[in-house]
């Protein structure tokens, strides 16, 4: 094992500390350096000081806003398999819906093998305690998600937000707000459209204008699975 001190290079371990921070140490020397670093407090301070100074090289680097969906992708990667408690509470209902969808799928596979025409998808979103009934409808031809209030009142001074959960365990994605009157129509981006069949749709009550954080805050009023319907 050769370390910087075994060579004729100038600067010894102190220069190696700077090379380490710059990422310039060759593989074999890197291992020797890190072994020593874990023992040598002075060397650690050198590495800290170089890190601090060289980080200043990024001062002139301009800030660039990352694309808005990136945080969601990061949260998917980190928390994708673990829902916040709010969603865990409704999981049993979701599992029932998944079973129903699985049956629907099985029926579809055995009954018809023609997928050229993707079927329209539907879900009933009911909140019995409030007498609220919403009908969700997705039309693949126009890639439009629609929602119609069939019964019940829109909560005064609040907004109803629509969430899509592509697969169980996924982070809910906001599709938008339920319109207070008339038909809600929301164009769906391609990547969500592909996942619409079998996705769960949830409705939450939020402050006016919807959740400011991109995560459902208010109570979940209902959840149901998007599935084709016999016509």
């Amino acid at each position: 094992m050769s370390g910087p001190e075994d060579t004729d290079l100038p600067g010894g371990w102190e220069a190696a500390a700077a090379e380490y921070v710059l990422g310039l140490l060759p593989e074999d020397e890197l291992r020797a350096f890190e072994a020593r670093l874990s023992q040598d407090r002075d060397l650690q301070q050198d590495v800290e000081a170089w890190s601090e100074y060289f980080a200043a090289l990024t001062d002139p680097v301009e800030e660039v806003a990352p694309p808005p969906q990136l945080l969601r992708r990061i949260e998917d990667r980190l928390f994708g398999r673990k829902r916040p408690s709010l969603w865990q509470q409704i999981l049993p209902y979701l599992l029932g819906a998944v079973a129903a969808a699985a049956i629907a799928w099985a029926a579809m596979f055995s009954g018809m093998l023609d997928f050229r025409n993707e079927p329209d998808l539907w879900a009933d979103l009911e909140t019995p305690s409030r007498g609220l009934v919403l009908l969700a409808h997705y039309a693949p031809e126009s890639q439009t998600f629609m929602m119609q209030r069939e019964a019940g009142d829109y909560p005064a001074g609040r907004s109803l937000e629509i969430w899509m959960i592509p697969e169980e365990g996924d982070t809910p994605i906001s599709l938008g707000l339920v319109a207070e009157d008339g038909l809600t129509q929301i164009p769906v981006p391609q990547e969500l459209a592909a996942a619409m069949d079998g996705a769960a749709i949830a409705i939450s009550e939020e402050e006016p204008g919807g959740s400011p954080t991109g995560v459902a805050q208010g109570p979940i009023l209902s959840i149901a699975q998007m599935a084709p319907r016999d016509e």
């Binding site: 102190e14 990422g23 060289f54 200043a56 090289l57 990352p66 949260e75």
Partner: protein
Amino acid sequence: MTTPQAEIEDLIARTAMGDRAAFRLLYDRTAAKLFGVCLRVLNDRGLAEEALQDVYCKIWARAGQYRVNGFSPMTWLITLARNAAIDRRRRRDAGERARVAPIDAAEMVADPAPGPAQQAESRSEAQALMSCMSELPPERAEMVRRAYLEGATYAELSDATGVKLNTVRTWLRRSLMQLRECLSR
């Protein structure tokens, strides 16, 4: 009133305890800077987006270790971002040397000293580093910048200067020692 630095430290500490709202706030405060750093290293939006995801996953996983290494909060974050971007860059270039723009001593001009307004804004480390870097021969200061901001290896620096690898390394280490001496004045 809390300083921006104290706020970032607080957000890192809360992130270490698994506070997702704090993590989101930390992202809001720092993502644009760290994305800028990733873009600078990778010069490719798609890869920089992937690197930025790596960065925040690491921040989430390692927030608890932040206090152990005595960095200031932005240095810690910038170092994570820079290293994640360089990992991506080296994987992209796997095996082959990246084509590097030549470093020609004759064409290099020393960085002008920062103006007073710029000096007032930048951190004291930045001021010290800039003034000490300007004491190095310009092409060597450029090598240091290339290594840090673009992840250039000695092999690439050798290509960029047309100087043998061992010679480049000897030069650079001398310059780093000169830099260290200047910074500790």
